[in-house]
């Protein structure tokens, strides 16, 4: 009597496909936000009146080491205007928001030329601040 050999079927587990796709999606989502500046260290100044800000076109950060970043990339103040003009492009008024994330102890020698560059590039200044705690 011949005993039939059992053939084992090896299949790729498809259960995990959803998880893999989801992880890839998040991976590319984070990559797309590569110009994110959330890794920079700075402390916001306080203000009693603050409002939520809409979509921004560019963001300038001055960190605690007094270094200037445009969209997360370190730049010199002299190159800021050209960089901003490129980032703002031909966006219409109301959609030319430039976020200023300036460390609260930064001196006017640094932040005033930045504001001038934003103004010259036609950007709309929005200071990122923290609600004043009483």
């Amino acid at each position: 009597m011949k005993i039939a050999r059992r053939t084992l079927k090896v299949e790729v587990p498809t259960v995990a496909m959803g998880d893999i796709v989801f992880n890839l999606l998040i991976f590319f989502f984070i990559l797309a936000r590569a110009n994110d500046d959330s890794h920079l260290k700075w402390l916001p100044a306080e203000s009693p009146k603050i409002e939520n800000i809409g979509n921004r076109k560019a963001s300038i950060t001055v960190d605690i080491d007094n270094k200037v970043y445009l969209n997360g990339r370190q730049v010199g103040i002299r190159d800021l205007q050209a960089g901003l003009e490129a980032a703002l492009g031909n966006a219409p008024a109301g959609q030319r928001i430039v976020l200023l994330k300036i460390h609260k102890e930064t001196l006017a020698a640094t932040f005033e030329p930045i504001m001038e560059a934003v103004s010259e590039a036609g950007g709309e200044v929005v200071h990122v601040l923290q609600q004043e705690q009483k």
């Binding site: 306080e46 409002e51 921004r56 006017a108 929005v126």
Partner: protein, 148 residues
């Protein structure tokens, strides 16, 4: 004699416990991304083009505010009077009350020394805007001095 054998009630579709790690990992990433994309909050500031020192004659009739790390002055036509941070809101309101509602009449020229910290500048410019002033920066032009 009859022996009762309890029936095993086992669901055919049990969720695989192997996937628990994946689920936790996915949830972790989901909330991490959610937390990192919180909207920013702050204050809009209308900033006309900067004025250079060379245009000082044009700006003589505007209200001027001079800020340094420790001092604060307010006045008109170059006659600045020292003020404290507590008095400043009433002084700026008083100065602006004498002017019309036209935007060009409500320009406040803000001049800061290079050692003025940003948080102080934000506090004072916030007071000016709350009083209805329109801020214009007056930047000091850099001069190269050659020492013999």
């Amino acid at each position: 004699m009859s022996l009762k054998i309890p029936r095993r009630t086992r669901s055919l579709f049990e969720s695989p416990a192997v996937a628990t790690g994946d689920i936790v990992f996915n949830l972790l990433i989901f909330f991490l991304v959610c937390a990192s994309s919180q909207p920013d909050s702050g204050r809009r500031q209308e900033l006309p083009r900067s004025e250079k020192e060379t245009q000082e004659k044009k700006q003589q009739k505007n209200i001027e505010v001079a800020i340094s790390r420790t001092t604060l002055s307010i006045g008109e036509e170059g006659n600045l009077v020292d003020s404290t941070l507590a008095d400043f809101p009433s002084r700026i309101r008083q100065s602006l009350a004498q002017r019309s509602a036209a935007k060009e009449d409500r320009i406040v020229v803000v001049r800061s020394t290079k050692d003025t910290p940003y948080d102080r500048w934000i506090t004072i410019t916030g007071m000016i805007e709350d009083a209805g002033g329109v801020i214009t920066l007056q930047l000091q032009e850099e001069r190269e001095v050659i020492v013999p």
